[in-house]
Symmetry: C2
Subunit: 322 residues, 2 copies
Amino acid sequence: MDKKGTWLTYRPDIKILDCTIRDGGLMTDCHFDDSFVKGVYQACVDSGVDYMEIGYKSSKKIFARPQYGDWKFCDEEMIRRIVGDNPSSLKIAVMADADRCDYHTDFSAKKESVIDLVRVATYIHQIPLALDMIKAFNDMGYETTVNLMAVSVVNDGELNEALEILCKSEVQTIYLVDSYGSLYGEEVQALTRKYRGFAEAGGKQVGIHTHNNQQLAYANTIEALILGASFLDCTIGGLGRGAGNCPTELLLGFLKNPRYHVRPIIKCLQEQIVPLRQKVQWGYDIPYMLTGQLNQHPRTAMEFLDGETPTDYLTFYDQIIE
Amino acid sequence: MDKKGTWLTYRPDIKILDCTIRDGGLMTDCHFDDSFVKGVYQACVDSGVDYMEIGYKSSKKIFARPQYGDWKFCDEEMIRRIVGDNPSSLKIAVMADADRCDYHTDFSAKKESVIDLVRVATYIHQIPLALDMIKAFNDMGYETTVNLMAVSVVNDGELNEALEILCKSEVQTIYLVDSYGSLYGEEVQALTRKYRGFAEAGGKQVGIHTHNNQQLAYANTIEALILGASFLDCTIGGLGRGAGNCPTELLLGFLKNPRYHVRPIIKCLQEQIVPLRQKVQWGYDIPYMLTGQLNQHPRTAMEFLDGETPTDYLTFYDQIIE
């Protein structure tokens, strides 16, 4: 497939996956009002977005209510409460975390579900489990992707082996994931080339999922797309863990496929995202920048920003460089 | 000069120019408390930043007090009130706008001034005037740069001619300026290559000045730097017109020269920038994104955000796409 676009044409292999509810759920313990989820769903349908990731399929043995909301579990009836039988061209995705998902019992066959795509999220040491999950979801009839997390702290030899194994599996798309928002453009270029090399040999596509710790989420998404990544993750208003993600509204403004329309996303920003900002704080901030620059998980920054002195940046800086 | 860096080395030709007070002044009519300007000055000195642009040298016939503050005029005694005789390695810069600066009368010879660098800002149709200003400032003993604005709406033939003429002048550095925050990474690459081509032939350096309308200010600054730009503009906290600029704290995190230290910038963010945010709104927002995507001046977005309904994004969108 030709993966080289130009300024005035578009690549039909590009798919946009909006993960507003799933990644944003990491800021709300997966609690969202139905009106909010419906607003995001309608925006995705109307804007021509290809996939909407509506939450996690997490183990009810591990995660308990009432701490976690519906979008931690995504039971069939919860999803249908929002999308009905999903009479649209938008496909519905859920995320299944390795080691935190009862994948043998909590999924029905695709023909009984409104879910189209299951995304398997895995750390490198969980690859054998991820492979078993991919096979199970594939056998049930679902599309699958694999999201190999935290590759900025994985050594090159292990990463090569992981990509080689994953590209022999049933999965359709392998995601480059910048979990810590630490990757610079040149690193994204090198990794995209690497992922594409393995993926082409295995007949797979490559996806990109970024975080905005260094204000590079959108730029890095474009870097990967230019080098042939096909699946592009984004969230409306950048809503997502910590510094958030590549904003859907920016990405749609860059892409030229007449299938995509930015106005429904602008509407959703105004009606859903702006009010949520009164209650939930996400997006670029100095503590997130610092964990990104230091290639660390953002949890220390999230804790600091939830504390009593969220703008005491110097104290946080002095703590994390120790 | 070798303009190719690596991950673990640094290029000594790189100079950081912090324009917090000058570009930020566009959001405050150049009013800042002395304590704020002193805080930025001290942060620049302590962090190893190479130049601090402290304001405009604007015509007092055109711009009147009390609407405009000291940093619109930068009289010698105003600057010295902040920096004294500037007993540091930090150089002081001011901006002189073509057609809005009485450059024959408002500057003294360099040997009588604490100013080191005069930056001539010009639109393409003002080039003959800019050349006269460059010559005058050079004759007075100042370093000079020229900032050719709004090149995203200049055609290629005219731009080539402008660069050829400017590279024959006395100016030391020619700036690529993304006035509207509309340029994508690939465009910045192509323009940097073009600017570098003319500049090398004329023995000049290239600079980069970006805006953050599409969250690309930092990414585009890195793109230009990788391709050989030497002068990098930035502002603390991104403080600048509209969507703001490339944040100094991000840029210092990327650069490896042991001359630079990010901690004093973090301190300034906490002590000066956070309190200012209570009074002045700048930075990425949807109206700025839209003018950036449409390659328009941000003034319509600034007016809209100053109005009664700053989050009525749909109305703004429908207005500007007409």
